[in-house]
Amino acid sequence: MSTVVSAQQVSKRFRDVTALDDVSFTLEENRIHGLLGRNGAGKTTLMQIMTGQLLASSGRLTIDGRSPYENETVMSRVCFIKESQTYPQYFKVRHALESARLLFPGWDEDFAQALLADFRLPLNRQVRKLSRGMHSMLGIIIGLASRAPLTLFDEPYLGLDAVARHLFYDHLLTDYAEHPRTVVLSTHLIDEVGELLEHVLLLDQGRVLLDTTAEDLRGQVVTVAGPGSAVDELAAEYEELHREILGRYARATLRGTFGTAERARAKALGLDLEAVSLQDIVVRLTTAHARSGDATTTGTRKKETLR
């Protein structure tokens, strides 16, 4: 597998805000990457830099080894769909699709038509008169039918109902299987996309908190439940992210290596091991980070980044 996106110490400062702070990571070709994080974590800024819409204040970000800023060769292989996209005032749905057909070399018209029918989007309606959800559908259709080798979705489904969201996931997976490409999906609905993601990049306050494959992550974070003293004993050897106590009974979310030996040991202590959903992992990590961030300095924060 080769690297598509590579970021080295990318920072972006606006007047008094540091949106991205020393961000480094790589994204591999033909995978679905999840770009996760709270509001204001820097996800959109990062995607804007990745698509040449913004310039980083410092650091270097490349796509296929070249900077995307004002680079026609690179940009013709990229499609970036964002939730807040504006269209010219006079545009109807068909005008937006016609423009996309002209501009994306890999555009698949049959696929676009099939998506239109599935989403029941009216071709002749003015874009500004579309409902919130239909507006999102238009972006999703353009993003999927463009078949761009690097496709980025930034919160693509604001206002979409559950049926339409699952249509999106299904189409994305099916089309991705037939036409592999690199997808970056930024979203807050982590549980819904948990199964889709192959790689997770978690941002918090402009920093990379997590950069790992989804599979590794699930093996790294586990919830143990059982008598409080037994939980204490096990938790001492791990990084504890969260704990709930109910009398003598405790549940703790721990991070570390959980191999066969470790699992057997937990069993012997009378503890139950539970898998943790991706959403819970993200919530626990982000809140644990916020707690420790208050007390520790930058140096220790950086160490926490998982590779």
Binding site: S76, T86, Q89, F91, A96, L102, I142
Partner: protein
Amino acid sequence: MNRVLTVTRVQLVGWQNTVGWPWLLLIMIFAVNYAVFLAIGDIEDNPTTGALISIYIVVFVTSINWITQLLPFSMALSVIRRTFYLATALFLVVQSVVFGILLFLCQLLEDATDGWGIRLRFFGLNFIDQQNPLLQIAIYTMPFILLGFLGIFVAVFYKRFGLTGMWLLSTGTLLVLAGLAVLITWLDLWDGIGRWLTDQPMAAWFVGWPVLLAALLAGAGYLTIRRVTP
């Protein structure tokens, strides 16, 4: 270059609203003018209207919309700033020439029908009438180009530097002009300048100076757009 042509095709998407609208409006204004002067009846001298200016104003507004609306949309579809700017400039120049030729043809028709049967002067305004057809077309075309690049530059400048930038730009321009006026008064040059201005041929007023100014604005717009955020 291919990409530039593709982007100009995107600018034609929904052309009825951008290229067609100024003409629809002009035809409606013409109809109103025609009806009014027909109702007034026979008038001793040629009734002349200034309504032709409406099409220039609409084109000016359209050029601002290219930057405020079409640029963010095109960049969302992975068009880079340079390509968008070149495509827009090309589109503007071609559109201006086509509009200029159409206005010239309207003027010919107006002359041939003796002012649409009622000696109305709508397209041909006496002071811009020329014998040379090419010069006449250029006189119709150039204001489109100048206003277009002015609109593009102002919109790009606003997008790049925001309200503060616009305020500084307008204040700065005013200060420079006022300074020039003071300097000219101080050196007692007004008479000479006045004579020089009236000596300028019509072609310089409508073609020569606008070309120079449009080129300056086009260059400034190009330099400004390179760092614009959609």
